[in-house]
Every structure is written in structure tokens, then in C-alpha cells.
Amino acid sequence: MAEKTKKNPMKKKKQQLGQLANFTKGIIRENPIFVFLLGMCPALAVTATLETGVGMGILVIFVLTASNIVVSLIKNFIPDEIRIPSYIVIIATFVTIVGMLTQAYAYALYQSLGIFIPLIVVNCLIMGRATAYASKNDVKSSIIDGLGMGVGFLAALALIGITRELFATGAIAYGVYLPLPFEGSIINTSMYLFNMNVFVGPAGGFIVIGIWLAIFNARGNYLKKKKEVERQAWIEEKKKEAAERKRKKAMEKAGEAA
């Protein structure tokens, strides 16, 4: 009994840490866009400005979390054959709700996202999390997973949006598409470098994502190389230690024999 009470707080702490890791994994290590390349269509189409990207991210967070909750609640009742169609219907229901809410409360965002609001239904990220995570885990961790993945998606869209808007217009506007009480823009430059119209268009979207992916790849390669060098140094050290031990043992043996 005493042992049990001793063990419990440790276990709880470990679980909490696990949930935190479950939340943060979606942001960097398993980022849906830059690592898994899920949901690339909205990542290219709605990131001409920062605000539309963030708006899309918020909608996806809502749909992803809600569909994760429902899927993990009813995972035991759905027969395996109709799993995918039923998930699609669940997701489509939430997307319809979100679309109506956006039309009512953020009409400018609704106008600029256009066809990409109903297309959240076929966002591979949401379907992927429903089948790969929510259908196998309990409600609480599914919520945290949905929130983490959604925040990672939003962060990626915001990063792409900032790059494209800055190079296209030389400023970052706020309050245009999102229903904020204030309006204006930051970082106003009038340099020619920040006036490239191509970044608004499709070509800029592809190239900006390509460049960011290459940057993240370069960082990953650098870290891998560093780790490999450290591992090699460690192995060398261990080898040296072992050789030293062997030498000492041999000396001892020789001393005994003498």
C-alpha cells in the first residue's frame, strides 16, 4: 500500500510530461507541412498574406480538434468497412458549421478563402489524424494531439504567409481579413526588393515553400552530422577506455604470475 502511494505521483508526472510532448510534437518534430507534407493545397493557396493563412489555421484547428473528439468517442462503434466514409461525414459536418460561422462573423475572410473552406473536408491532415491517432487513442490525448497538430499547421501557414506578404508588398497588414477591432500594417519598407508581385501568385507560393523546406532540411542534415560526429567521438573514447582496462588487467596478471 505504501509502495502504491509512493508510485502514483511519479506516474502522474510522467503522464503529464507525456501529454506536453504530445502537444509540442506537432509543432516542430512532426510538423504537418514541413515534415509530413500534409495539407499542402491550403498551404499554397491561402498564404498570399499572413492573415488569410492564420485564418485558415484557426479554422483547421477547430475542425481537427472537434473531429478528433468525435472520432475517438465513437471509435468502438464504427465497423471497420465503413470507417473512412463515416470519418468523412463527421469532418464534413464540422466544416459546414465552420463555414457558416465564418460567413456570419468574418465575411472578408470567408470571401478571400472562398472555395478552400469546403475543401477543408479533403485536407489530408485532418483525415490522417483521425485514422492514425484519434481512432486508436482516448479522448483526452486526441484533443491534445489535435490542438498540437493544428497549432503546428497554423505556425507553418503563418511562416509562409509572412514571407510571401513581406516580399510581395513590403509590409505585413493586420485587420483586413480577420475581424480585429484595429487595422494597419507593420514593417513598412519602400525598397524595390520588397515589391515583387510574383510572390502573390502561384509561382511564389511553390518557390517559397520549396525554399523553407530546403532550409529545414539543411538544419536537419547539420544536426544529424553533429550527432554523428559526437557519437564517433564517444565510441573512440569508449574504445580507448576498454584498451586501457585490458592493458591494466594484463599488467595485473603479469604481476600475479611473477
Binding site: 473512412i84 468523412i88 525554399i211
Partner: protein, 202 residues
């Protein structure tokens, strides 16, 4: 009767000017995922072409003959995705029955099509265009079908071109950080720049 020019314009504009992949950013997942080899890219494009045309006919009928008279167009997204999902299942069964060879070729791509945003996207765009206002309720169906066919042709064209480029890219010397998807995305960006030039045709 609609003049043939309408169909010609519909095909050219949905195939080249508003290309599904490069101009409208639809169907990026198969564009990046199934374009490593020309053969699989063509298989995917064929499957997409079939499902896209048939589902655009079906959804047009459902939207204008069932949902609009009943005034329940707000559930159109749910209805459309259900139509596409069940259509894909049907096509899979049908192909399995009539030709084992065709099923082997196309079978693996069919389940992927359900979550292909090009299909739902083209269907939604067709409805958003409001063809009945311009051409009448029944004639609009043909225009919608033609433009869906044009969009599918555009998808096939881009898949073919992109997969051919990617096959050559494998032999090229690419810096370590750019290998794989990043360099493909930049290639796609340059293709999109080329397609910008077609903007003034129609």
C-alpha cells in the same frame, strides 16, 4: 442551343488558364506523391479524369434538381463528398468486375482519389460558376461537364510533364538540402511561371 465556341472556351480555360494544379492549387497531394514515375502519374490521371467527369455530372444534378428546389444547399459539401466517396467505391467494384488488368493498373489510386481535393474542388467551382444563369438549367450541365473534362485534361498534362521532369531530376546533382521535395516544388514554381504567360488567351 449553345454554340461550340462555349465548349471550346470552357475546355481551354479550365485546362490551361485556370489549370487545376498550377493556378488553383488543387490536387497537390497526388501531384507531389504519385509523380515519381511517369507510368503511375498517367494511371492516377486516368482515374482522376473518370471520377472527375462522372462526379461533376452527378453533383450538378443533385445540386440543381434536389438540393436547390428543397432549399437545403447548405449541406452541399456533405452531399458532394458522399457522392464522390460512394462513386469511387462503385468504380472500384465495376473495374474489378470487368477487367483484372485495368484494376491492377488503376486499383491502387482509387482509394486515394476520395481525399483528392482536385475532385471536390472542381465540383465546387462548377457549382459556384452558376452555369444555369447563363445557359439554362439543362444546357448548363453540358458546360459544367465540359469544363470538368478540361480540368481533368489539365491535371493529366501537368502530371505527365512534372513526372517526366522528376525522372530526369533523379539523375541530376542536387545539393543535399534541396533533394527530394524542395527542388520539385521549385520546379513546379517555374512551371507555374510559364503558365502565367497563357493568361491572355481567352
Amino acid at each position: 442551343m449553345i454554340s461550340p465556341t462555349v465548349f471550346f472556351v470552357a475546355i481551354v480555360s479550365s485546362m490551361l488558364i485556370n489549370n487545376v494544379v498550377l493556378m488553383r492549387f488543387l490536387g497537390i497531394c497526388p501531384f507531389l506523391g504519385v509523380s515519381k514515375r511517369t507510368e503511375s502519374a498517367l494511371g492516377m490521371s486516368l482515374a482522376v479524369m473518370f471520377v472527375m467527369v462522372v462526379s461533376s455530372i452527378l453533383t450538378y444534378i443533385i445540386y440543381y434538381y434536389i438540393l436547390a428546389p428543397l432549399d437545403i444547399t447548405f449541406i452541399s459539401t456533405i452531399a458532394f463528398i458522399l457522392v464522390i466517396a460512394s462513386l469511387v467505391q462503385l468504380v472500384e467494384l465495376f473495374i474489378k468486375k470487368i477487367s483484372k488488368k485495368l484494376y491492377k493498373g488503376l486499383g491502387i489510386y482509387l482509394p486515394l482519389i476520395v481525399t483528392n481535393c482536385a475532385i471536390l474542388g472542381v465540383v465546387e467551382i462548377n457549382i459556384a460558376q452558376g452555369y444555369p444563369e447563363d445557359y439554362g438549367l439543362f444546357n448548363g450541365l453540358w458546360v459544367a461537364t465540359t469544363s470538368a473534362f478540361g480540368a481533368a485534361l489539365g491535371f493529366a498534362l501537368i502530371m505527365f510533364a512534372f513526372s517526366s521532369i522528376r525522372e530526369r531530376l533523379e539523375a541530376a546533382e542536387v545539393p543535399a538540402a534541396w533533394q527530394g521535395v524542395p527542388v520539385s516544388l521549385v520546379v513546379a514554381g517555374i512551371m507555374a511561371l510559364a503558365f502565367l504567360g497563357l493568361g491572355g488567351i481567352v
